[in-house]
Amino acid sequence: MITTRLILAGALAASALGFAAAPAHAADDATVSVLHGVPGATVDVYANGSALLTDFKPGTLTDPVKLPAGEYDLKVTAAGAGADGDAVIEANDVNVPGGANITVVAHLDAAGKPTLTPFVNDVSTMDAGMGRLTVRHVAAAPEVDVRANGKVAFASLANPKEVKADLAAGTISADVVLAGTDTVAIGPADVTLKEGTNTIVYAWGSAADANLALAVQTISGLHSSPTGVPAGSGGQADDAALAAQMGAALLTAMAAGAGVLAVTRRKATERA
């Protein structure tokens, strides 16, 4: 079927493909997730007196929620204790900055006391082919080294600090050792660093209670696109080349036809 369904694009400016503008107030909101890293306690979480989370089990992570920027009084109670129940953890005037992506972690401090720590998540764009690894020490345990494939990647990480790096996307075998030693505290475990994703690993639990564990949170959509698709180097499928071949084929056909005519005429002449 002859077709001219080749759509010749005019200028395809990137601005023509601009995303719809976000609503004005969205810039003031923060994106907040909550991780429960206190072993053994199923809890309810209140923000400014309202229930944010109920029946929250250790080792679980909430979906992210948009909250207006500002200061929040956070309270963690035993499940079912009610808004006025005894606080397992209480933190007042916790600052939630507008536009930030935050994980609030309920965890044990280095001495084993329950506490709340807000961490700001790095959601900046990374290069294509890369993944971001973030590691947060939120366990009742001493300083640790974080190892990737047996080699120390981050040294002397203490509760409640974090470390991060952009690495080539792929799977690493990760473990956590007591700082400066080969004594494994957690792991090893396979951690997949997905491309364009911030993979946030939490070391949580209690060394004294032998329940140290790793939890993971992933934030996607931070990737960059490739710089192009270079899909041809032969030149044989070039428009002009094909047109030239077409032209050459026509000329060849015409010449062949003329030759046939000439031969025929000669024969006719000879016969006559």
């Binding site: 079927m1 002859i2 077709t3 001219t4 369904r5 080749l6 759509i7 010749l8 694009a9 395809l12 990137a14 493909l17 995303f19 719809a20 997730s33 400014n48 007196g49 309202s50 229930a51 944010l52 929250f56 080792g59 679980t60 992570l61 909430t62 929620v65 948009k66 909250l67 920027a69 929040y72 939630v96 959601v123 290069d127 082919g129 475990a189 491309e195 364009g196 790793l214 939890a215 993971v216 992933t218 959509g221 990737h223 696109s225 490739p226 192009g228 698709v229 270079p230 899909a231 041809g232 180097s233 032969g234 030149g235 499928a237 070039d238 428009d239 002009a240 047109a243 077409m246 084929a249």
Partner: protein, 243 residues
Amino acid sequence: MPRILKARVAVAAAAATLAGVVTFTAMGGTRDPASALAAAEAALPTTSPTVVVSTTNTVSPTPSVSASRSPNPRTTGVLRASDASLTAARPASRPPTRIRIPSLGAVLGIDPMGLDRDGAMALPESPSRAGWYRFGPTPGEGAGATVVAAHIDSRAEGAGPFAGLRTLDKGDLIEVVAGRTIRYRVTDVLRIDKGELDLDSVFSRTGPERLHVVSCGGPFNRVTRHYEDNIVVIAVPVGAGSP
């Protein structure tokens, strides 16, 4: 037969170029290529521009919590939490291994590909093998564009199966094997100058699930040994509404 068909298309296109006329033949309406790529992505609303926290649960209603210390803040719902352990089950996704384009008589094996030294998508050397951009969505993953590309030709092998991409029509069938066979229908065939191509749209990971089959085309620059344009074929899963 395919060779002559391509020659006719090339002559028509060359004639249009010579005439200085930008010929636009819409396949699905009066959309221009820019909005064809963008419309496919914009069809689904997104709550946040880029950031998605992956969990195994669906998103629950958003609680309404006031930042002020008013005496009676209202809550409209409660958050749900899901297992954050390292071994929590993640949905399996199968990479594509073969692409079939019956109207071209084309069948190509697909290799997962990453980036070349220049940060561009890497491709198998032979035009008779296709590459899948392995950092993007797999077919059937539910959102975003699965990108499958192949060289239109090479010095060693000449023109390959994807040299016929630009002859595809709206409605043509494309099949991709990823464990099971997923069937797509072509909605757009675009030829876009490389300098103007919006790569974020070609490699988009959001919006409705779709297939982008990519190669090169247009005039060939004999000095740089590169084609000036990319050919992008957009196809949607059979059964999906047209964008």
